[in-house]
């Protein structure tokens, strides 16, 4: 097999695994969008906040430590204990649920029935707010996140491909773990929405708000539920990206990468989010590999957006989205 083809295969594989990461963020978007029509720009910052909170709890940091120190002139940073990963994850989940309640209670309850674009801009405000809160609570330095996920090159794949093709593929264990966790997450989400009472309520609300209200489903409850689920998805995404490259501000920028993923897959489709993520992951890896060196590199900054833009011109509702019908 020619070398170029083997390299391309490795690039495609890594692109696929990267795409899984994009899909994870996109999934949170789809959940909220389906149930409430809110296009949640803050999803990426939620991932950042969740990961920061997890690290903070794990390391026993004092929340708002900097602020307290600045006001009272003290010098406290740590409680002096360390929390095991599982307990920290549970506490973070509780915090994300509390966050979901607060967001619903103080922001989006008051914006019911507004135009989608107003809601979108409100979530941009929410993103800024949450980012500030996250910085105030836990500081803005890069943190290392370790919840016991495997890291480093996968030796088995390296050896096997070396024997078969004469070239060892470099695949990160973490990416494989992410792919498996993403698959479990998607299946459990689908199972939850198909087979539980809450899941049925969620689907009913997604279908028609008024009809759902009239059969006695509490919109408020469903929306809090959906935001909590999105918070948990954000936590998973935050843990994955955080283990990969440290918990830092750029984590919130992956939200932006998830947008073209959604546009490709369609805003209302969970499988769409997955497929869109894979297409974007592979597409940008291949483009950077094949054409990037000719035009200066770093094309992954914009390739996803341009791909989505070109795609949308031909199919405005995305791959799996519901057909947009407009009436006056």
């Amino acid at each position: 097999m020619p070398d170029q083809l083997i390299f391309a295969m490795e690039v495609i594989l890594n692109g696929l695994l990267n795409g899984v990461m994009y899909s994870l963020v996109a999934l949170g978007f789809v959940l909220i969008f389906k149930a409430s029509g809110i296009f949640n720009y803050a999803q990426g910052v939620m991932a950042l906040f969740a990961a920061m909170t997890l690290v903070g709890i794990q390391q026993g940091r004092v929340p708002f430590g900097h602020l307290i120190n600045a006001i009272f002139g003290t010098d406290i940073h740590y409680f002096g204990w360390e929390v095991p990963a599982l307990a920290a994850i549970l506490m973070t989940v509780l915090i994300m649920i509390a966050f979901a309640y607060l967001v619903q209670r103080f922001v989006f309850k008051h914006l019911v029935g507004q135009e989608p674009i107003i809601l979108f801009m409100a979530t941009i405000g929410l993103a800024y707010f949450l980012e500030g809160v996250s910085d105030l609570m836990w500081g803005s330095e890069i943190r290392n996140l370790d919840v016991g996920l495997p890291q480093g090159i996968n030796d088995w794949i390296d050896v096997t491909t070396f024997e078969a093709l004469g070239y060892g593929f470099f695949i990160d264990n973490l990416d494989i773990a992410a792919a498996i966790i993403a698959a479990i997450l998607v299946m459990s989400l689908i199972a939850y929405s198909q087979y539980t009472k809450n899941g049925r309520a969620m689907r009913a609300v997604a279908d028609d708000h008024q009809a759902a209200l009239s059969v006695g489903i509490s919109l408020n409850y469903v929306w809090i539920l959906v935001w909590s689920l999105a918070g948990m998805v954000a936590l998973v995404a935050g843990v994955m990206w955080g283990s990969k490259s440290g918990v830092q501000f750029s984590l919130s920028l992956i939200a932006l990468k998830a947008l073209p993923v959604l546009m490709l897959g369609g805003f209302t489709s969970i499988p769409g989010a997955i497929v869109g993520g894979l297409i974007i992951g592979v597409g940008e890896a291949l483009f950077e590999f094949a054409i990037g060196p000719m035009i200066g590199g770093a094309t992954e900054n914009w390739f996803a957006y341009v791909l989505a833009l070109v795609f949308l011109v031909f199919r405005p509702q995305g791959l799996f989205g519901e057909k947009i019908i407009e009436r006056v």
Binding site: L67, I117, F120, M121, A122, Y128, P260, N301, Y305, P316
Partner: protein, 361 residues
């Protein structure tokens, strides 16, 4: 008792159609112009010019530009930073390629260049709507910044990848330097003031004319507008062109007059797009006055917070920056919930109250 329209009669159509129909408003407007054009240039010093007045004027132009597109025509754009970069780099190329050219021509040409780029990126808006379009404009943002970073021709192959503005004059018979280290702050201020005055006058009259009405029809419901005979191609593309022109002028001024030297990813990144978007949300969507109010607010807020938190309470600057995020985010949500029309609406409510004051009815 001061703010009355009693005794203010319009006897001709042109009087009835003027921008400020109430005499008190009109006098206030002329007074503000007089203060801005005649008094401030004598009082200005470097601190006031650089930390408040010049950024306010420059961002006001950008906010008017984005307001035309988003507030009047309903097309949300997150590519403002990228379009500002087009203006900046066009002016840089013009300044270095044609040393004899004056700053007014350079800035206008930069605006026209940006308008063309804006139309190109506005073409998909005919098929894509709402936040699909907002995401599509992100393509412009990231692609343009990447291009100015990677293609050496744009920054004349300088080693640092930065662009810096050489010294150029105001106009071809006014030989006062506007850019470069020798430019005095009152000259810079007047240069920006001139652009703000002319551009906001044009914007105000465009938005209440037939073009503006077409934009607003498209914003309110594009299909209905199409049925009653508004050409969506023309309306959307003119909105993109005019808006990009303003944004380009603002980007050019930000580089040439205000900063002098620019690194594209730092100055014209996605945060700049959000900054301008926040200005028009807080100031008021679909209002020229709101663009000014929002720009003033967003320029003043960091200065105010720095005075209060860093100098007053002696917090460190990082903490004050975090507070700024919290406050800006909370304000955005607050305004969208309580007053989606922003500061401009509050201003007009205050005026309504003033007309009756001190009587309740």
């Amino acid at each position: 008792m001061l703010y009355r329209e009693a005794g203010d009669f319009s006897t001709t159509y042109s009087q009835d159609n003027q921008t400020f129909p109430i005499r008190f408003d009109r006098m206030g407007y002329y007074f503000a112009l007089l203060i801005g054009a005649v008094v401030i240039p004598f009082l200005i010093n470097d601190y006031w010019a650089n930390s408040l007045l010049i950024p306010f004027l420059i961002y006001a132009i950008a906010a008017i530009g984005l307001n035309i597109l988003t507030g009047y025509c309903g097309q949300v754009s997150l590519g403002t930073g990228g379009f500002m970069a087009v203006g900046a780099y066009t002016s840089y190329k013009l300044m270095t390629a044609f040393p004899g050219l004056d700053m007014i021509s350079i800035t206008l040409l930069s605006g026209f260049m940006t308008a063309m780029v804006g139309v190109a990126f506005g073409l998909p808006s005919l098929r894509i709507k709402g936040f699909y379009l907002a995401v599509a404009t992100l393509a412009a943002q990231f692609f343009l910044v990447w291009m100015f970073n990677k293609v050496g021709w744009f920054y004349n192959y300088s080693a640092s990848g930065q662009i810096s503005a050489p010294e150029r004059d105001f106009f071809y018979f006014i030989n006062l330097p506007v850019t470069g280290p020798n430019a005095e702050s009152w000259v810079k201020y007047l240069f920006c003031f001139l652009f703000v005055f002319v551009l906001s006058w044009v914007a105000r009259n465009l938005t209440r004319g037939s073009v503006g009405r077409q934009w607003m029809a498209i914003r309110d419901m594009d299909i209905a507008a199409e049925i009653i005979g508004v050409n969506p191609l023309k309306a959307k593309l003119t909105a993109f062109a005019v808006s990009s022109f303003y944004v380009g002028v603002s980007g050019a001024l930000l580089f040439t007059v205000y900063l002098g030297a620019v690194e594209v990813g730092e100055v014209y990144g996605i945060t700049k797009s959000f900054l301008v978007l926040f200005m028009i949300i807080i100031g008021g969507l679909g209002s020229i006055f709101g663009s000014f109010a929002g720009a003033a607010f967003m320029v003043l807020l960091p200065v105010f917070l720095k005075l209060l938190l860093v100098d007053g309470l002696s917090f460190d600057t990082a903490l004050s920056a975090h507070f700024q995020f919290v406050i800006v985010g909370a304000l955005i949500m607050f305004f969208l919930i309580v007053e989606p029309h922003g500061l401009a609406r509050l201003w007009s409510l205050a005026k309504e109250k003033l007309r009756l004051w001190p009587f309740p009815h």
